[in-house]
C-alpha cells in the first residue's frame, strides 16, 4: 500500500502511463481552448478541398471549411460525450457494484444477475435503436453510451468489493457501530479506487469510439462537430474513394480517434501497473 507521494513518483517512472497522460492532456487542452485555437467552422469557405500545407494546416473540406478547426472542435465534443458517459456509468455502476459486493445474499445476487444480463446485451445495435428513438442531440447520445457502459464498471467494482469486504478492517468498522452506507461509500470505495479508475479511463476511450460510430451512421448530433461527424460528411461526399483523393479530410479525424483511444488505454494500463505491485518489475 503506498501513499499519494509514492503513487505519483512511480507514475512518473512509468513511461506508458506518462505517454498516455500527455496524450490525454493534449486532447483536454485542445478541447478546453478550442475557441481560442480556431474559429468555429461554419458556413462556406472560399477555397474548397485545399491540400494541407499552404496556409491551411490540415487542408479544407468540400465546403471550404478548415479541417483543423473541425478536428479541434471535434475534440471538445468527444471529451464532452465521454465525460457525460463516464458520469452516467459511474452513477449507476459504482453503487451497483459496491452494494452487490458488500451485501451478499439476495440483494447481491439480484444486482449481480442484472449486471450479467446487461453485459450480454448486444450493445451497438441497441445503442443505434435507442439513439434513433430519443433523437440525436449530443447529450442524448452521451447518456445512451453511459447507460450501456456501466455493467463492466459494476462488475469490476463488485469483484474488488467482494475481496475488500472480507478484510478485517471492514469487520472492525461494523463492530465500532459505523453505519453500512459509510462503510460502503467510504471504507470500501477508497480501497477499490484503483481498478475503478482504470475502468473509467477505458470507458472514456470506448465512449468516443461509440460516439464516432453513432455519428458515422448518422445518429449523432448534426449541429455539432465530432470526429465521427467529420468522417460521415467525408463519406457522404465519397471523399474516401474519390480520385484525386482528398485524404486529409478523412485521415485527420481518424488519427485523432485512434490517438484519443490509445492515450486513454495507455493511461489506464499505466495506473493499473502502478497500483498492482505484481505487474511491477
Amino acid at each position: 500500500m503506498q501513499n499519494n507521494r509514492t503513487f505519483f513518483q512511480s507514475f512518473i517512472r512509468n513511461p506508458m502511463g506518462m505517454i498516455g497522460f500527455f496524450g490525454v492532456l493534449l486532447i483536454v487542452l485542445l478541447g478546453i481552448f478550442a475557441p481560442t485555437i480556431a474559429a468555429y467552422p461554419k458556413g462556406y469557405g472560399t477555397e474548397i478541398l485545399v491540400a494541407p500545407g499552404s496556409g491551411m494546416l490540415f487542408g479544407t473540406d468540400n465546403l471550404g471549411l478548415n479541417v483543423f478547426a473541425e478536428v479541434v472542435w471535434g475534440a471538445r465534443s468527444s471529451l464532452y460525450v465521454s465525460a457525460i458517459a463516464v458520469l452516467v456509468a459511474a452513477v449507476i455502476g459504482l453503487p451497483a457494484g459496491l452494494i452487490s459486493g458488500y451485501k451478499k445474499g439476495k440483494i447481491g445476487s439480484v444486482i449481480d444477475g442484472l449486471i450479467d444480463i446487461f453485459l450480454t446485451l448486444p450493445v451497438l445495435p441497441l445503442m443505434i435503436v435507442i439513439a434513433a428513438i430519443v433523437g440525436s442531440s449530443i447529450i442524448n447520445v452521451a447518456v445512451v453510451i453511459g447507460l450501456f457502459s456501466w455493467p463492466s464498471l459494476a462488475k469490476v467494482t463488485r469483484n474488488a468489493t467482494l475481496r475488500i469486504s472480507e478484510m478485517q478492517y471492514i469487520e472492525a468498522a461494523k463492530c465500532l457501530g459505523i453505519p453500512s452506507y459509510r462503510i460502503i461509500f467510504k471504507h470500501i470505495l477508497i480501497n477499490v479506487a484503483g481498478p475503478v479508475l482504470v475502468n473509467l479511463t477505458l470507458i472514456m476511450a470506448t465512449a468516443v469510439l461509440s460516439e464516432s460510430g453513432l455519428s458515422f451512421l448518422g445518429l449523432g448530433d448534426p449541429t455539432t462537430w465530432s470526429w465521427g461527424a467529420i468522417l460521415k460528411k467525408a463519406w457522404d461526399a465519397s471523399a474516401v474513394i474519390d480520385t484525386p483523393n482528398p485524404w486529409w479530410w478523412w485521415l485527420w479525424p481518424s488519427v485523432f480517434i485512434m490517438f484519443y483511444v490509445i492515450s486513454f488505454n495507455l493511461l489506464g494500463t499505466g495506473i493499473n501497473e502502478i497500483l498492482n505491485p505484481k505487474s511491477r518489475e
Binding site: 503506498q2 478485517q168 478492517y169 472492525a172 461494523k174 463492530c175 465500532l176 457501530g177 453505519p179 477508497i190
Partner: protein, 329 residues
Amino acid sequence: MSEIILDIQNLTKYFDIGSFGTKKYVHAVEDVSFELHKSETLGIVGESGSGKSTLARLILGLIPVTSGKVYYEGDEITGVKGKYASKVRSDIQMVFQDPYASLNPRIKIGESIAEPIIVNKLIKNKKDVRLRVEELLNLVGLQPEMYDRYPHEFSGGQRQRIGIARALSLNPKVLICDEAVSALDVSVQAQVLNLFNRLKDELNLTYIFIGHDLSVVKYVSNRILVMYLGEIMEIANTEDIFINTQHPYTKALISAIPEVKSKGIKERIILKGDIPSPVNPPEGCRFYSRCFKAQDKCGKTHPELREIDTDHFVRCHFSEKGGNKWLDI
C-alpha cells in the same frame, strides 16, 4: 465473586454449507454457556477450528446466532437492533487478530480512531474529538503526533496499539481480544500483554482473551476456558486448571508449553492427527479420536459438562473431584 457482566447461555452456531437441498452444517459453536464477571479476564484457548473466534463474533452480534442467548448486565442482547443495540455495541468492543489487516490502509490512523467517536456522537466538537484521540494514543503508548500518519508507516506492535486505541474510543466495559497478540513477535507480545494489564487496571475493563498459546493466556487470565470442536472441555480458575488439570485435552495443551529447563525435560503428550471435521462431529466425546486415555465408553456416549469442584467444570467421563492421577502417562 463480583457481579456478572455477561451471561452466555447455550450459545450455538451452525453454518449452513448444504447446497441443492442437501443438509450440511458446520457445528462451529455448540451449546456454550459461561458467565463473565466484572473486572476479570477470561482466557479462551483451543486450537484452530475450535470455534473461539466464532464465539467472539456471536457475543458481539457480528453474526446471527443459531440458538442460545447472551445477556449483558441482565438484559438480553441477542438479535437486538436500534438504539439499545448501539449502546451495547459501544460497551463490548473487540481487538482483532491481524494488525496488518485490521486497519484500513487508506485512512489516517487518527481518523480511524476518531470516526467511531463522531459516528456514535460521543463528542460533537471536532477539536475535542482530536484531543480525545490524542489522549487515547497517549494511553496506549503512542505519540499524539502520529495522528496524521497512515497504517503502513507503523510496525506490527504499534498497529496493534492503534487497534486497541480504536476499540477504546467508545469507552467499552468489555474488551474481547481475539488472538490479539498471536501475530506479533514474542518481545512485542510481552509489551502488548503488559499494556492490556495496565489498561485493565486504569479503565476497570473486563476481558475475554482468546488465544491458542496457553502460556500467553495464562499470563493475563483469572479463569481459563478450554474449547475443542465448538464445545467447552474444561473451565476453571487459572491455578486450578494448571494444578488440578482434569481434561486430557487440557493436559495435552499444558504439556505443549515450552519450558526453560536443562534437565528433566518432561514427557510431551503428542496428539495424533488433526481436529476432526466440524461438519459431522463425532457422536461420543468430540475428543475421542485423539484422546490418549480414550475408552470404549467415550466413543459411544457424549459426556456432559459437570462441575467437579467449585467453579471447575469438565466435560469428561472420568474426571473426579480431587484426583487427576489417572491423567499421568
